[in-house]
Symmetry: C2
Subunit: 190 residues, 2 copies
Amino acid sequence: MDPGRGEWSLYGGFVEENESLDDAANRVLYQLTGLKDIYMKQVGAFGAIDRDPGERVISIAYCALINVKDYDKSLLEEHKVEWVNLDDMPKLYSDHNDMVKKAITLLRRRISSEPLSFNLLPDLFTLTQLQNVYEAILGENIDKRNFRKRIKTIEYIEKTDYIDKITSKRGAALYHFNKEAYMEDPIFKL
Amino acid sequence: MDPGRGEWSLYGGFVEENESLDDAANRVLYQLTGLKDIYMKQVGAFGAIDRDPGERVISIAYCALINVKDYDKSLLEEHKVEWVNLDDMPKLYSDHNDMVKKAITLLRRRISSEPLSFNLLPDLFTLTQLQNVYEAILGENIDKRNFRKRIKTIEYIEKTDYIDKITSKRGAALYHFNKEAYMEDPIFKL
DNA sequence: ACAAAAGTGTTCCCGTTACACCCATGA
DNA sequence: TCATGGGTGTAACGGGAACACTTTTGT
């Protein structure tokens, strides 16, 4: 998000002649963060007549799942862009708040039919980290025992022999998302 | 749907300067069917570079729920448009099959979180009619007793004293969707 | 020793499913 | 009288939610 015209707004760009909408979204994301191959979905087209006071603009909003640790800070500063917590989100320019709202709805719906979380986690992750992602997306707390019970029934989330000793004294088992197993049998359980 | 360029395609139109995307969709629908105030949702923006062989076109697809009985036949004939059954749908022009597929997915997801069916039914309807709509949208059969049990738990679907004697010899109770009750307490159960 | 995070089972409840027969009426 | 669609209840099952204590180890 970047400051624009006195108000904050979402970061955007224009679609070039030689690129699809998806390509354009990926390019803009790359220019902004230096990230490629990121999970990204179209949120929708926004086309009220007066949504831009200057000229008629139709915007196609996209949302991406980005691990906040991964971004290139210098690029963000260069574009005068900042990450904000959802709870701290200010009033945005034009209909950009609607875009965010629709994106959140889309994500919350999708997380129960598609394993989104792994786009936000490192290759190896602890169950606590995974649960944190779920709680962040759903915006609510989940019971630890129930969560871990459900995870156990999902075949393509595999426990490894590695142990994470960084975030806890006792050490936590590291898990792995087996994408191949998911592709073969894409039944999502959570 | 109308025949175009040797293949069948979805019916479309261009967005005017003085109308929003939603307005444009409603206008096109009106020109085609003579219907107004129809339930309509944006399906998404389609923007592959070569989706139209002539020039670069970005399309925003919409889907509407229309009771097939309501349409103005002369308008359809005038525009050389036909209704087709989903099962009989031919290969369509460009990415139009993707549009239909996405629209169906959207409807199926939405019907379990929003009472869509009433847009396809007359003001008074029998439970069998309602069940038919559900089965049509979901594309599967539903057990009659279970269906009726669930309907009974929904406050805003109200039984009236009227009886439909047209479609059955015995006569079937007519029900009514109480929109006000739904608006007050929009918890959808089915 | 104690603080901090990891890990672990059981019970209860409710919603979903499966399933088959009688009823009223017009033709 | 029969064909047609309308209407009804119960039992078994399974998934989700609630709930609290022990373990390990670094400091």
